[in-house]
Symmetry: C2
Subunit: 451 residues, 2 copies
């Protein structure tokens, strides 16, 4: 039977199953939902078994379990590892949901529920694609492995060590992740770069106590003056990061990648207006999508010190704080960048101030080799179903686990996402467009058959 | 009878009376103490009457009352106006008081209670000095007026208009205020300058919402970058205020005043150590006492924006805030300085940022003409009792009402204070040294007889 017809026949059954899964409130961040997260893992295991997968295992971790399964009966054929997650974000503010987050509801051509697109709905496509092929053809054209975790929404604390320990069990020729979006309706995209991340806190201290600005003002250092002076040295007048060596490992954009960025045809004026900005802002010589996708940043995320209440308080604060994150690209290494920033800070300590730096997160940037055949196969599959080749994008955000998969398993990672950018991930009224539900099933089948 | 003997005889009686007054919790800032503040005014009025003063009036205001009294039977002699306040600061943290703040207690040579030195204790000296002279000599060597308010600790909102309206009733040849300190034990001081004050809030906004630093970082302005850049322009590398015209109305220090500052013989190293500072800091060419007494400042009292919690949040904040106060000297006018700062800020708005400024407080600096005979008379009185002439100081703090008295009544104001700098004004365990209680009475009598 033609797969399109098959999936049409099964559609109601599939959506009812997905609704079952979506009705389990597997919120990984909230300890009171620990048993719900476990229930969602159990449901997933049952569903994988029903689809015909084997060696289904629920691996306990210090947090929530990781579920693995495989089907390895295609000797000589490539092995595809599917990664995804079955945990979901918290749902507050609850009153903004039109229907309850864990009562999945179809309205028009969308299914509404927490996790509908991020990521239960997209993981579900892979299970049903495998099930469809096994039902129709009794065998798979590839070897397949699933590795679905329950802690993605809490930054995957237990997955990296799991990958390291099971490097061989999880060995594959490609990792497929469906947790990203099309560019817009009808315009598929494959993200071939994710920025890395590093973060640090800066503390400036002066006196051992806050001081009265009448008695001491003009005669002692002020922690706020010091931090403002210090932080203002981190960028030059054009908004470029002013830290020595910061751009050393940033590759220039290739003409090919620039052409891909142009294809996104982002309307910068419209974006500017929607954000209420007088002007977009950033490094000269780059467009907005280039700046946010392929250029590194150093952002102040928090600065605070002294009095914040109503009116005024004539205090000279003894301490001031800054929280800083960087987005990294290319070959920038978080540790190296943190060290460079720390050196810059210590070299620019204002008179009378003591400065301490705490280094925090470190996530590598992810860059996909755009010439790898796996990428072309995925692109072909999209083209086959959507009638258009996906645009290659670089996403400004950071999903450190993507880089971890590629590095630890030493394979290409293809971000073959079926969401849309406006599906309210992490927000009220999360939903998944059923058009992409249908096309996603077909795209995955096509990919597995062609790879 | 010799006044020293008289005051020794009366000492126990005087201290018991003062304890009565100090036991009334006249906290002007707290509405639940409104009736206590009124009780303290009543007590004051009774005490003034008992001392022999006349025309005792409790003037209601929109807040707490002002008490006036006079004794005007010395035709051809100067008129002295005594200003002070009978309201006190809140007492928290209560658990740090060794004895309850409103149970006055004498330990060693100090009387402990809220208001002991600030300012009931010091006002009390004037009442008892007048009483002593009237009891002993049946007449006063001068005309005297009292104007004692109940809102000094809440920035005297109703006193300026009261002074304006009663300019003639309150006319005098000198205003005496006992609400300041000796330099240290045995070293009297007369403060001949108080810095003025002005304050403003700055708000920087960028987008209409906080933005994700992955998706938008590097492509949009960041309110924290903008405010840090803006605020860093307010001072030059040497810590001088970088606002055009800021120092225009600041007189250079006279050699005479510099000599007075030297007499304070402040140990800068000791101060630096006690504050835990690597270095004192401020304008080159000035000592600490000159910087804080006779030079203007622009201080950041609060700066805040973005995330302040634990860990990191990859947000690009849409707004950031700063609270700024200036201390003013010489002929600097608060309105003029605020306008200059506002012009500077608007001239230095970073790309992509919108900046708004709210002007707040405005208090003129106070400068006493050091050649006025009234100052010499006060100095003589101190010398007579303490055996040493007072040092002339300039205080870095601001007491706008001092400037208001001088300006509205057009007379010299002499700050003849009997406190000590470590008597815990506004803090737990406030006290008043009885040595200065005794000497204060004699000094005031001496001043009234010589003026």
């Amino acid at each position: 039977m033609d797969y399109q017809v098959y999936f049409e026949n099964q559609r109601e059954q599939h959506l009812n199953e997905l609704k079952e899964w979506l009705s389990i409130p597997s919120i990984s961040a909230l300890s009171e939902h620990k048993s719900d997260v476990l229930r969602a893992a159990d449901w997933l295991a049952d569903s994988l078994a029903k689809a015909g997968l084997e060696n289904i295992t629920i691996h306990p971790t210090e947090g929530h379990p990781i579920v693995t399964a495989d089907h390895l009966h295609a000797p000589g054929k490539p092995t595809v590892l599917v990664y995804g997650h079955y945990d979901v974000q918290p749902v507050d503010p609850l009153h903004l949901w039109e229907t309850p987050p864990f009562e999945p509801t179809i309205r028009g051509d969308k299914i509404y529920a927490r996790g509908a697109t991020d990521d239960k709905g997209q993981v579900f496509l892979h299970i049903k694609a495998v099930e469809a092929i096994l039902k129709q053809e009794k065998e798979l054209p590839v070897n397949i492995k699933f590795c679905i975790e329950g802690e993605e929404e809490v930054t995957s604390p237990n997955l990296p060590s799991f990958l390291e320990q099971r490097r061989e069990e999880l060995a594959a020729d490609v990792v497929i992740i469906s947790d990203t979006s099309l560019l817009e309706k009808g315009k598929p995209a494959i993200c071939v770069g994710l920025r890395g991340l590093c973060s640090l806190d800066v503390e400036v201290t002066t006196a051992n106590t806050d001081l009265h600005s009448g008695t001491f003002g003009g005669g002692v250092p002020n922690a706020l003056h010091a931090i403002v002076t210090l932080l203002s040295t981190l960028h030059d007048d054009q908004g470029r990061v002013n830290v020595e060596g910061f751009y050393e490992d940033v590759p220039e954009l290739s003409p090919e990648m620039r052409a891909e960025f142009v294809k996104q045809s982002l309307d910068e004026n419209k974006l500017q207006q929607s954000l209420g900005l007088d002007a977009l802002y950033g490094e000269e010589g780059y467009t907005f999508v280039e700046r946010t996708g392929a250029r590194p940043t150093l952002e102040l995320n928090g600065v605070y010190g002294g009095f914040q209440g109503e009116g005024s308080k004539t205090v000279i604060p003894k301490e001031a704080h800054a929280k800083i994150t960087c987005r990294l690209v290319g070959y920038q290494k978080p540790q190296d960048i943190l060290d460079k920033i720390e050196r810059h800070i210590h070299a620019n300590v204002p008179v009378g101030a003591k400065v301490s730096v705490i280094q925090r997160e470190k996530g590598n940037p992810f860059t996909m080799d755009t010439t790898t055949p796996m990428l072309q196969k995925a692109s072909d599959a999209f083209n086959h179903v959507y009638g258009v080749r996906p645009v290659l994008t670089k996403d400004g955000g950071s999903i450190p686990i993507v880089e971890t998969f590629g590095r630890v398993l030493n394979v290409p990672v293809v971000l073959m996402g079926f969401g849309l950018p406006d599906e309210n991930l992490h927000a009220p009224n999360e939903h998944f467009n059923l058009d992409n539900f249908d096309k996603g099933l077909l795209t995955i089948v096509e990919f597995l058959k062609q790879v």
